[in-house]
Amino acid sequence: MRSRKQLLETAVHGIFLMLGLVTVGCVLLITVYLVVSGIPAIRQIGLVPFLLGDTWESTAAQPSYGILPFILTSIYGTAGAILFGVPVGFFAAVYLAKLAPTQVKSIVEAAVSLLAGIPSVVYGLVGMLVLVPGTRALFHVPDGASLLAAIIVLSVMILPSIIKVSITALEAVPKEYEDASLALGATPIETYFRVSVPAARSGIAAAVVLGVGRAIGEAMAVMMVSGNAANMPSLFESVRFLTTAVSSEMSYSSGLQRQALFSIALVLFLFIMLINAVLNFFLKGQKEG
């Protein structure tokens, strides 16, 4: 009887261990599949022409597979989104975490949650019908579907993550720091910006990095507003991101072209892994205070 009970316990332990390892298995699966399917095209095209080639003509008679335009577009687009999104998100987070009355805070936080929950295709749709014509009319360019429209959509989309993570970091600042500063004669706003913000800098940095990750990985919204031509990035021209390069040709691709798309995904994946590593570095810094 006793041994049967023990057997059951061991079996259950084993089952839970397996469930615990599912996540690790998934990460390995994704990594292996991306590497295995991404390497062949890079070997055939050559690493340098692939990464640094500035023309992508996958369907031409003499196809060329250079993804530098996509890499640069992704970097510029992300940088632009950070440039607009981070200041707004940062100041809003300081206000919500420190200055806002409770009721205002709960209402604005509901608005932030709403922004976080809106599907990316809805952002894309609104962008298509508001931003794209708006850009065209405002800057007198032939087509409003451009890097600028994508940057604006991305900066709105990364706001919620930046605000939420920054609020958490700011709220974790020990009350004593602020009390000490207030007792020395600093006003509340001076205290929050000169004491609380530096104390929460790791967490705020993590929020920015998270925003970078969100922006570089977004596909659908960007696909709907950026025009999708494989140009070198320029603010008012139709551009293609790493993410949209994968999705826009996947449905009709074949052969080397298809393999090259997997290689683009691999490059995107490496970017994300790098960002994750940086994010973990900052989060660790936050935990250690």
């Binding site: 259950v12 709403l114 994010l279």
Partner: protein, 285 residues
């Protein structure tokens, strides 16, 4: 209070910082209000009973989104059904069983990595792994979503497992219960709130997901039952929105779907808030 007045430069600093804060918050609120107002104003007039209850027909040249609604429900059900035991089980392992610190940190790192991977990559891997075996189908899409939502369920369950008092476990052990019995009768009922919160968050995420489904679940609009539906390709609401707006130029239908999605997002957020409030209140008692 000291009588020395605050110097002009300090006054300017305070003024500027306060102004920037106010402007940023106003901008965030204005964006949320604009988005919801614009989408509802453009979408609700296009909503009709016919749109909601029919499938697209080439013969009468009408568009209906009933299949897309059903597909969304099917894919949510299927994904939750699979991800719940996996995610909750992993959380139980981490908080109740795992003795090896190294292993715990590896698993947690893996979960963090998963939550950072963009959905287009999930879509691609889902296409390589699942559609090869299952074909382009809702089930392949659901399995892709399972991997995406695993970290969410795991994290919320883990958080609420930590709030189950250690004394409950010790009490049960003291009465002679085995570990599995303790987990089944004491620990799991105590973390119901975490599992439910995780479910709501996942539903929200699945509702909004499109990039991961485009190449795994496809974009057919056939009217199917649950099991045939899972085995055949189908568009969810988000994918349908994308196809109608980007490929077919049917902006009226696209906005109608967007309005539905917006209302559902609001409902999901509200439910999450209410559930969180309810559980906090119950715990405080």
């Amino acid at each position: 209070m000291l009588d020395r007045p605050i110097s002009p430069s300090r006054r300017a600093y305070i003024g500027v910082m306060g102004l920037l804060c106010a402007l940023s918050v106003l901008l965030v609120c204005a964006l949320a209000l604009f988005l919801i107002g614009y989408v509802l104003a453009a979408g609700l007039p296009n909503l009709s009973w016919e749109l909601l209850t029919t499938k697209p027909s080439y013969l009468s040249d009408t568009i209906g989104i009933l299949p897309d609604i059903l597909n969304t429900i099917y894919i949510i059900l299927a994904a939750l059904l699979i991800v719940l035991p996996l995610g909750a089980g992993a959380a139980v392992y981490l908080t109740e069983y795992a003795a090896n610190k190294r292993l715990v940190s590896v698993i947690e790192y893996a979960a963090e990595t998963l939550s950072g991977i963009p959905s287009i990559i999930y879509g691609l891997v889902g296409m390589l792994v699942f559609t090869g075996v299952l074909g382009t189908s809702l089930l392949a899409g659901a399995l892709t979503l399972v991997i995406m939502n695993l970290p969410t369920i795991m994290r919320t369950t883990q958080e609420s497992l930590r709030t189950v008092p250690q004394s409950y476990r010790e009490g049960a052990f003291g009465l002679g219960a085995g570990k599995w019995r303790v987990i089944r009768t004491v620990v799991l009922p105590g973390c119901a709130d975490g599992i439910i919160t995780g479910c709501i968050l996942s539903v929200g995420r699945i509702l909004g997901e499109s990039a991961a489904l485009l190449f795994t679940a496809g974009f057919a609009h056939a009217l199917n039952g649950f099991f045939t539906g899972l085995a055949s390709p189908g568009a969810t609401l988000t994918v349908a929105l994308y196809v109608y707006a980007k490929e077919q130029g049917e902006f009226g239908v696209a906005f109608a779907i967007a309005a539905i999605l917006m209302l559902l997002t609001l409902a999901v957020n509200l439910t999450a808030a209410l559930v969180g409030w309810y559980f906090r209140k119950r715990r405080a008692l």
